[in-house]
C-alpha cells in the first residue's frame, strides 16, 4: 500500500508539472496537446518544453535518489551522498571548462568526461580490497581537487558573462531541458539505477560488516566497482544536463528508510522513485516562485528544502 502511494505521488508530480508554466493552459488544452491535438503553440509548449523538462527532472531525481541510497548502504553512513564521491564536482568541472572555452553545446559531454575521469581516479585510489573509509577519503580528495580547479577556472574566466554562465550553471536548473538532452541522460541513468539495484543483496550482506560480507561470498572489489560506475552514471548524467543539484541523494534515502526500512534491496529502487517525484515537485515550486526577471534555481531550492528537513531528521534520530 505504501509503495502504491509513493508511485501515485511521483506520477502525480510529473503529471501536475505539465500544467505549470508561464503560459496558462487549461486541463483540457494540456491533455489535448499531450496527445498531439490542439493548436501548434500548445503542442510545442507541452510536448517540447514541459514534457521533456518533467521527464528529465524525474530521471535526474531517480538517479540521485538511487545513488544516495546505494552509497549510504555501502558506507553504512547516513551522511553519505552522491557528492561525497566527487562525481558532482568532477562533472561540474567538466562543464565549467566547456563554458570557459565557449563550447556551450559540449557541456553535457564535458561533464560526462569529467565524471568518467573522477570515477577512474576513485577506482584507482580506493583499490581492490580496501575499506569503505578509503573510498570516502578518495572521494573527498577528488571532490576537493575538482572544486579547486573549478574555482581556478572561474578565477581566470575570460569575461564576466562567461563567469555568470558558470555560476548560474552551478546552481542547477531544468530550464533548458530538451528531448535531445534526455536521450543522453536517460539511458545512462537507467543503466546506473539497474546496476545499483543489482548490488542490493550484496549491500545488505555488507550491513554485517566487511569481514562477514566476504565470508558470505561478497566480492568487495566487484561491489565497489559497480557502486562507483553506477553512481557515476546516475550523478554524471544528471549534472551534465541540469547542473549541480544537491541534497536529494542525502535526504530521500533517509525518508524512505523511515517508511520502508533499511533493506538496501528495497531502498535503492524506492529512493529512485521518491527522488524522481521530489525533484519534479521542487521544479514545480521553482516555476511558481520564478517571476518576470527573476529565476529561482533548482539546486538552490532542493538545498533550501533539504537542509532543514535533514537537520530535523538528524536531531530526531539522535534522540531515538
Amino acid at each position: 500500500m505504501k509503495l502504491i502511494i509513493l508511485i501515485i505521488c511521483t506520477l502525480s508530480c510529473v503529471l501536475f508539472s505539465l500544467f505549470i508554466g508561464t503560459v496558462n493552459l487549461s486541463f483540457l488544452e494540456t491533455l489535448k496537446a499531450l496527445i498531439g491535438q490542439g493548436s501548434e503553440t500548445n503542442k510545442i509548449i507541452i510536448r517540447e518544453l514541459r514534457l521533456p523538462r518533467s521527464i528529465t527532472g524525474a530521471v535526474i531525481g531517480a538517479g540521485l535518489g538511487a545513488s544516495g541510497a546505494a552509497l549510504q548502504s555501502y558506507t553504512r553512513n547516513p551522511l553519505a551522498a552522491p557528492g561525497i564521491l566527487g562525481f558532482t564536482a568532477c562533472a561540474a568541472l567538466g562543464a565549467v571548462i566547456a563554458l570557459y572555452y565557449g563550447y556551450y553545446n559540449w557541456i553535457p559531454l564535458a561533464a560526462l568526461v569529467g565524471t568518467a575521469i573522477g570515477a577512474f581516479l576513485i577506482l584507482k585510489i580506493s583499490g581492490n580490497r580496501k575499506s569503505a573509509s578509503t573510498l570516502i577519503l578518495a572521494g573527498v580528495g577528488v571532490s576537493a581537487l575538482a572544486t579547486a580547479i573549478t574555482g581556478l577556472t572561474m578565477n581566470f574566466s575570460p569575461n564576466p558573462w562567461a563567469l555568470s554562465e558558470m555560476v548560474y550553471w552551478l546552481m542547477g536548473s531544468l530550464n533548458n531541458s530538451q528531448f535531445t538532452d534526455l536521450m543522453i541522460c536517460a539511458p545512462l541513468t537507467v543503466i546506473g539505477i539497474v546496476l545499483l539495484t543489482l548490488i542490493g543483496p550484496d549491500l545488505k550482506a555488507l550491513s554485517l560488516g566487511e569481514e562477514t560480507a566476504i565470508s558470505l561470498g561478497v566480492s568487495l572489489g566487484r561491489l565497489r566497482a559497480i557502486l562507483i560506475i553506477g553512481s557515476a552514471l546516475c550523478v554524471g548524467s544528471g549534472v551534465a544536463i541540469a547542473g549541480a543539484i544537491g541534497f536529494i541523494g542525502l535526504f530521500i534515502p533517509h525518508i524512505i528508510r523511515l517508511i520502508f526500512g533499511a533493506d538496501p534491496i528495497k531502498l535503492v529502487p524506492l529512493s529512485a522513485i521518491a527522488g524522481a517525484g521530489f525533484l519534479v515537485f521542487a521544479d514545480i515550486i521553482t516555476r511558481f516562485l520564478t517571476g518576470p526577471g527573476t529565476q529561482l534555481y533548482l539546486g538552490i531550492l532542493t538545498s533550501l528544502i533539504g537542509v532543514p528537513f535533514f537537520l530535523y531528521l538528524a536531531v530526531k534520530e539522535t534522540k531515538l
Binding site: R76, L198, G200, P201, K204, A205, S207, L208, G209, E211, T212, I214, S215, L216, G217, V218, S219, R257, G261, A262, D263, I265
Partner: protein
Amino acid sequence: MIHINNLLSGYGPCDVIRNISTEGKYGELIALVGPNGSGKSTLLKTIAGIITPSSGTIKYAGENLSSLSIRKRAKIISYLAQNREAYPSMPVYEIVELGRAPYRGSLGKISSAGKDIIENALNRTKTDMLKNRKFNNLSGGEQARVLLARALAVDAPILLADEPISALDPAFQISMMQTLQNEAKNGRIVIAALHDLSLASQFSNKIWMLNNGEIVAKGTPKKVLSAENLKNTFQLKLPKGGFKQLQLAN
C-alpha cells in the same frame, strides 16, 4: 576434514602467523587460545578467506580452498566475526536470513529449504521469539545469539567463531558454548577463538594454543592446558584442582 599446511599469513608485508600446520575433524569443537596478539583472529580470518595467506595451503575434503570461488568457499565455511555489527533497525529475521546469501538467486530469493534452515537456526540459538524485533532493541547477549543464528543459517560444514563469548555474562557464555558444542556434535568442525580457558577446557574436544603467531601446543584440553604451557604462553599458574566449571542452573 580441514588440513592446514605451513600457513603464513598477516596484514600487508607483516606476517602475523607462521608455520601453522594442523587439522580439524568433523564433530570437533576446537578452542583457539592464546594471549592478545598471538594470531587467533588472523588464523580464523585466513581460514575464512578474508585474508589471503602469503604461503601455505588450507584444504577441505582434499580441495584447496584458495582455488575455490568466493561464493563456493562461503558455502563451506561460516564465519562469526568478533564485532557484533548489524544495521541497527534491521529486524532479527532479516539478519539471520543473510546467512543464506551464498545460496541466493540473482534477485535475492531464498528457497523454501533455505527458509527451513533459517527457522532451524533460530530455534537452535533460542532466538525464534526475537525474530520480529529490531537488532538495536536487543541486549548484548541476545545480539550475540542472533549473529550466531546468522552464522548457523549458512549451514556450512565448518563454523569459525572469533571470540563469540566476549563481553557476555556467564549464563550467556555457557549458553553460547553449549550451542557451539551441539553444532560440533551434529557433525560440523567448529573452531572458536576463546579467552576463557576454563570454558575452553570445559566444552572443547581439542585446543590449539597459539603464541607469537605459532601453534605451541595442540591436543586435548588436559594435555594443552598444562602448567608448563600456561606458564610459557600466558605467564599463568595452573589453578589448584584444575579449572573450575560453572553450569547453568537449569
